[in-house]
């Protein structure tokens, strides 16, 4: 079972992001469950959503307390709450930002379990503005996630986006998601090249 937790703010499509992941996983014949952390939804308020993906039926209905991946849609949350709480050793931390991960002043203990190559940032809001003209980073970040894990493919995420947002809106989100995927894939290629060069 692979568990994802998404942190963002009301209006950023936090719940939709988890839903899209579940739809994408379903397309690849996996079992998937997506649900929000419920509250009085207000624009701008911190929102959390969860997604579980498994090859077996998912029975639990508890929140995701020990995620394999955490996606942060709004980096201003980093100083407000411990978004990486419970992140599993070897897990993935993906922040929506144009800045490198290392420039965030995080409590080292919170990301201790995250390998350097799993500490990722992608300028999802910038990409969303470029492709959609609106600051909606959710689908973009899913594109980035598919570059580092094989839990769902980019193609399945794109299909899920197209189903949910037919027409131009879906196409623009897909373009932005693909751009984010490419940025992360390039970073990984560069890192492994450097590692090989150093060896």
């Amino acid at each position: 079972m692979f568990q994802i937790r998404i942190h963002g703010r009301g209006g950023q499509g936090v719940v939709t992001a988890a839903d899209l992941l579940a739809y994408a996983a379903f397309k690849e014949d996996r079992h998937a469950q997506a649900f929000p952390s419920f509250g009085s939804e207000r624009t701008g308020a911190p929102v959390v959503s969860y997604c579980r993906i498994s090859t077996r039926p998912i029975r639990t209905h508890e929140p995701v307390l020990a995620p394999d991946a955490v996606i942060v849609q709004d980096p201003t949350l980093l100083t407000a709450i411990n978004v990486f709480s419970g992140l599993r050793p070897g897990g993935y931390a993906l922040i929506n930002s144009a800045r490198p991960f290392s420039t965030f002043e995080l409590d080292p203990a919170t990301v201790k379990a995250v390998p350097l190559e799993h500490r990722l940032t992608v300028p999802a809001t910038d990409l969303a503005m470029e492709h959609l003209g609106r600051p909606l980073p959710n689908a973009v970040l899913l594109g980035a996630l598919t570059a580092v894990t094989d839990v769902v493919s980019l193609a399945a995420v794109c299909e899920a986006i197209a189903d949910r947002f037919p027409g131009a809106l879906g196409e623009r989100n897909i373009a932005a998601a693909c751009a984010a995927h490419e940025i992360i894939a390039d970073k990984i290629a560069l890192t492994s090249k450097e590692a090989n060069g150093a060896a």
């Binding site: 998937a32 469950q33 929000p36 009085s40 029975r59 209905h61 508890e62 307390l65």
Partner: protein, 405 residues
């Protein structure tokens, strides 16, 4: 059709497949997505029925009563304060023997105001004369609606389908959504036993005086007993027709050889199954009884399911203040013949949306196995917060007894 779908939408699709003639509702969280989706299906022409926007939950249940009384298949949905607001009409629906089906997206009752899940709302209607079926997951939530219309119309009694608000209604999961063609083969058209018709006037719900009221109530009591067989049979027939064991009176999970058995209702049973698997792997003999039909209460089936248990733990998402569990009282009667050989503890959990985690359930079940549970406990109670409050406000002192006079 197998779909990845939100619980509310799966329920709406299942209800639509039952071809209701009238859907009437007033929106309230966490029921809203169900009736929104039904109204959308009506608007785009996928569901041919009268969708009535009403001004309150009292009106919603009243419209359902009127519709059902003229022979229409009627459906509504509500939650929490909305259910309380329609209570007068809720009792009328069962008293009049009208086979309305209603979803309740279980939610806490205020004050203090709280929009999150527990089961206090439907437990408050334990004695209203409706059947109450509890869904363990979204597959069962969808399937129970198909069964609910069959059961309701066969018995001429209304049925409440209870599903945990948010936890199920707002969760996107894999559901095999019942198709209209499948449902058509399973659910015959509604043929009311009596109906209001201007061309053939009758009165229903006329006043009944002391000379016959007890008999009317006694017959209602008998009908709840009859319902046990109907719920069980319809569940079995559903399994044959749809190929999945969904609904019926109750489900047992790994109760073979289990000395300690948990009894629970609703979505927590999924998390409990995972915990029970882990504990079985650790060599601890624990099992689960999921109660689907709370009203009618399947006393004999429960007693059978618990026949091998020496420690029974009733996990409830509601309680009776000053007393304890609500389901507990029914369980106690089911276990009465074995009272010297079995212990019963009640754990109140998940009130007002508090998460029920597998870690807390695991710890609680381990204590149950060791016989350490008190007769009544509250899962994850913040004892420090309670102590701080009590020290701030003081412990109440009785002023009417022992006061200087």
């Amino acid at each position: 059709m197998l779909r990845e779908i939100e619980g509310s939408k799966a329920v709406a699709a299942a209800v639509a497949a039952c071809r209701p003639d009238v859907v009437c509702a007033y929106p309230i969280s966490p029921q809203t997505h169900i009736v929104e989706e039904l109204s959308r299906l009506v608007k785009i022409g996928q569901l041919d029925c009268e969708y009535v926007n009403v001004e309150s939950e009292f009106a919603a249940q009243s419209v359902a009563i009127g519709a059902s009384a003229v022979g229409a298949r009627a459906y509504t949905a509500t939650a929490s304060q909305g259910l309380l607001y329609m209570v007068e009409a809720v009792y009328n629906a069962s008293g009049l023997g009208l086979p309305i089906v209603m979803t309740v997206a279980n939610r806490a009752i205020g004050a203090p105001i709280n929009i999150w899940n527990d089961q206090t709302d439907t437990m408050s209607q334990r004695d209203c004369g409706w059947l109450q079926l509890f869904a363990a997951d979204n597959q069962e939530a969808a399937d129970l609606h198909v069964q609910a219309f069959r059961i309701a119309e066969e018995l001429s009694l209304p049925v409440m389908v209870c599903m945990d608000g948010f936890v199920l209604t707002h969760a996107v999961e894999r559901v095999d959504v019942p198709e209209a063609e499948q449902v058509d083969a399973f659910l015959p058209p509604f043929t009311p036993v009596q109906r209001l018709d201007p061309d053939d006037p009758v009165t229903i719900g006329a006043m009944v005086g002391p000379e016959a009221f007890t008999e009317v109530r006694y017959l209602a009591h008998r009908r709840q007993h009859d319902a046990i067989e109907v719920v069980e049979r319809v569940g079995r027939e559903f399994a044959q027709a749809f190929g999945r064991d969904s609904g019926g009176l109750l489900h047992t999970y790994r109760t073979e050889g289990a000395q300690t058995v948990v009894v629970a209702l609703g979505s927590v049973t999924g998390t409990l199954k995972d915990v029970i698997d882990d504990m079985r792997d650790e060599g601890q003999e624990v099992g689960l009884v999921t109660v689907t039909s709370f009203r009618p209460f399947p006393e004999a089936a429960i007693a059978d399911a618990l026949a091998g248990a020496s420690r029974v733990l009733c996990l409830e998402r509601a309680f009776s203040p000053g007393r304890g569990g609500v389901v507990e009282d029914d369980l106690r009667r089911a276990l009465w013949d074995r009272r010297d050989d079995v212990s019963l503890s009640t754990v109140v959990a998940g009130l007002g949306g508090r998460d029920i985690t597998s870690a807390s359930l695991h710890e609680m079940l381990q204590r149950a196995v060791r016989g350490e549970l008190a007769p009544l406990e509250f899962l994850d109670l913040d004892h420090a917060a309670v102590a701080a409050h009590l020290s701030a406000v003081g412990t109440p002192v009785p002023v009417t007894q022992g006061a200087d006079s």
